[in-house]
């Protein structure tokens, strides 16, 4: 494991440290909130993984180990900001107020994302690697045209976040997004969670220089942050987002973290990585360090931790009970979603198909 240079404000042991350029401005209440978010996000992940094991989900993309990166990035947002996630951003979805149950639909196979993106300023998950980075950039170009960049009004100036993984940085779409964002100085932050692996391929297959330095060549700043440090991620993202809102243009933030779990529940990481690597990262757990900090400095009492644990239990029940009740997809309904105005030939196909399905129901009766 190379020693990496990144912005860190809370050590793995839970010590607050200073950084010349970034500081965490939140109060103790904010830290407790970030802790709660991370615990609940982890619970959501654990619960969804269990639901997959029980056959309730077809697959689940785990975020275990990436809670700090996602909560730090998610809580640095303002209401008016807009987020373009990959398929793993369950923690950011949580911060955007999406009911975690809605995240399960895609993985259960009942829909493609059960939330309305415009209710949460949180786009649907994008599975095609990198595609969303261009959408984010284009959305940010729209924001520019709406005149809500650099007005100085904190409730109007808007930034956009494109989430991506380390593997994604190889895609043409991502590199084109960097070009467009730089060319137009679009108010977008590229938030790359370098979790060290793209399925079985290490980040070194994608890049021989640290990812954050890619930004240099495109002409905008890149910064690497300890992605297992929620305070640092929060601070760095706040700064990058503010720069975008102020009209300063794009930033690439590389959150240096680790995918503790498998790529998805269908993956078997023992085929390509060593367990000592996983052990190494266990010592850098994003939640444990905040808990250590809170406890050691008396910033939270037993009642607080119990309360969070109770909420986690409730969330578990909500997911377990709700998952089985998610409405099943109905094929005849799908036809009506293909176009805003269904074509006559598709309407015919829908009706014929409905008759066909109906003929079985009659036969049963």
């Amino acid at each position: 494991m190379p020693d990496v240079d990144f912005v860190q404000l809370l050590t793995p042991e839970g010590e607050r440290v200073e950084h010349p350029d970034y500081s965490f401005t939140g109060d103790d209440e904010t830290v407790r909130g970030l802790y709660r978010d991370m615990v609940l996000t982890r619970r959501l992940d654990v619960e969804a993984t269990a639901l997959q094991r029980h056959g309730e989900l077809g697959i689940w993309a785990q975020l275990l180990g990436q809670e700090a990166a996602q909560i730090g990035a998610g809580r640095a947002l303002r209401q008016q900001d807009y987020v373009f996630p990959t398929y793993r951003e369950h923690g950011v979805a949580w911060c955007r107020g999406v009911d975690p149950l809605r995240l399960l639909g895609l993985f259960r196979g009942v829909d493609f994302g059960g939330w309305n993106p415009s209710d949460h300023n949180f786009n649907l998950y994008t599975i095609v690697i990198g595609a969303q980075t261009l959408h984010a950039t284009g959305y940010a170009m729209g924001v520019q045209r709406d005149g809500v960049v650099g007005t100085g009004d904190p409730d109007r100036d808007t930034a956009v976040v494109a989430h991506l993984g380390d593997g994604a940085t190889s895609q043409g779409d991502v590199n084109e997004a960097f070009v467009f964002a730089a060319s137009y100085q679009a108010p977008v932050v590229f938030f790359c969670q370098n979790n060290q692996w793209a399925i079985s391929e290490p980040t070194t297959r994608q890049s021989v220089i640290p990812l954050y330095r890619r930004a240099d060549g495109f002409g905008f700043p890149g910064i690497r942050v300890d992605g297992n440090d929620v305070l640092a991620t929060y601070a760095v993202m706040q700064s990058a987002l503010q720069r975008a809102r102020d009209g300063g243009g794009p930033t690439l933030v590389e959150a240096y973290t680790y995918r503790m779990g498998a790529h998805t529940t269908t993956d078997d990481p023992t085929r390509y990585r060593h367990s000592d690597e996983v052990e190494h990262w266990k010592l850098r757990d994003p939640i444990a360090r905040v808990e250590a900090h809170l406890r050691r400095n008396g910033l939270a009492d037993g009642e607080f931790f119990e309360q969070v644990a109770r909420e986690a239990e409730e969330l578990g029940v909500h997911l377990r009970e709700g998952c089985r009740q998610l409405p099943e997809p109905v094929v005849t309904d799908l036809f009506d979603r293909v176009y805003t105005e269904i074509s006559p030939e598709l309407a015919d196909q829908r009706d014929e198909f409905a008759d066909y399905v109906g003929s079985f129901e009659e036969a049963v009766r």
Partner: protein
């Protein structure tokens, strides 16, 4: 006679291994195909045995993979590209359609483009979106590309080797839901049928059912069920979609007078439409009913829990048989 008991995935693995042993210019390229052996394990163990220069874990960029494969081919190599899932071929679509397909043509026939692009295709595995698609028509519609689909382990073993030996670029479609289905004995000393030919998979007298890839199994099961009702279906495994080999189909249709084409791809402007049009020309006076298409509905692929309804299944095939007879 040497035989091996192989699943479709293992047969492809054995075929790839044989091709790599026979020709040192064969190079495999793709995401996660090395140490992991591919997400479906089709290339399992090949990097260990042939090294990282011949089994290349590529950066995550499909246009990059196919584009660099073009360059490798120009340098005399025979790239075999793995696209991880059907829905992720599109970043490479530009390279495939504008470069791979046209090189031989543009060079006045001087420069061949021997390349195989392997694509796991089709649904039925309960996957999330973009993992269950059937894009064959988009490639079959492109002059310069040949498109084949295997449906069983023996064909997989031979067809992959033949595709690699072909001097033209071949889109090689693999029915992913059958990768790990039942292993069968494959005769490794057999003389395989030529690559670009279709084949009768089951003989019958009443209706000709054309299928390929994952729907061959569906058609065969429908034939079993129909036999119970006194109807005899002849099932033809098309195997090659571009070029199409309709000789055996025409011979069959002249006897049966009825024909269905079954594929998972959307019916609109699909392979079935082409088969129907050609049969209308070649067998017009033999047909007792129009050629009927049974396929995926003309919506994007549905969420997994609706796929069993969306995909053509035994009932939809039998329903089409009834409709053909009722004509």
């Amino acid at each position: 006679m040497t035989t091996m008991k192989l699943t479709l995935a293992k047969a492809l693995n054995a075929g790839l291994r044989k091709a790599m042993e026979d020709d040192p210019k064969v190079v495999l390229m793709g995401e996660d195909i090395g140490r992991l052996g591919g997400v479906f394990r089709v290339t399992d163990g090949l990097q260990k045995d042939f090294g990282e220069d011949r089994v290349v874990d590529s950066p995550l960029a499909e246009s990059g993979i196919v584009g660099t494969a073009v360059g490798m081919a120009l340098r005399g190599y025979k790239p075999v590209v793995e696209i991880q899932f059907d829905g992720f071929v599109y970043p490479a679509y530009d390279q495939i359609v504008t470069q791979v397909a046209k090189f031989h043509f543009r060079s006045g026939g001087r420069i061949p483009m021997p390349m195989v692009i392997r694509i796991p295709f089709g649904g039925g595995i309960g996957a999330v979106e973009h993992h269950s698609e059937s894009p064959e028509a988009q490639f079959a519609h492109t002059p310069g590309l040949k498109v084949v689909a295997c449906s069983n382990p023996a064909d997989a073993y031979w067809m992959i080797q033949q595709a690699i030996a072909s001097p033209d670029p071949v889109i090689f479609l693999e029915p992913k839901r059958q990768y790990h289905a039942g292993a069968v004995e494959v005769d490794l000393d057999a003389t395989p049928d030529p690559l670009f030919t279709s084949k009768v998979a089951r003989e019958g007298d009443d209706v000709t059912v054309c299928a390929y890839g994952p729907t061959v199994g569906v058609a065969l099961r429908a034939a079993d069920a129909a036999a119970g009702e006194g109807r005899s279906l002849e099932v033809i495994d098309l195997r090659t979609l571009s070029p199409l080999d309709l000789g055996p189909v025409e011979e069959s249709v002249r006897r049966t007078g009825r024909c269905l084409v079954v594929h998972e791809a959307h019916v609109n402007l699909g392979v079935g439409a082409e088969v129907a049009a050609r049969l209308t020309e070649s067998c017009f006076y033999s047909l007792e009913a129009p050629v009927l298409r049974v396929g995926g509905l003309d919506t994007p692929y549905p969420p997994a829990r609706a796929e069993h309804q969306w995909l053509p299944d035994l009932d939809r095939v039998l329903d089409a048989v009834d409709r053909s007879f009722a004509w």
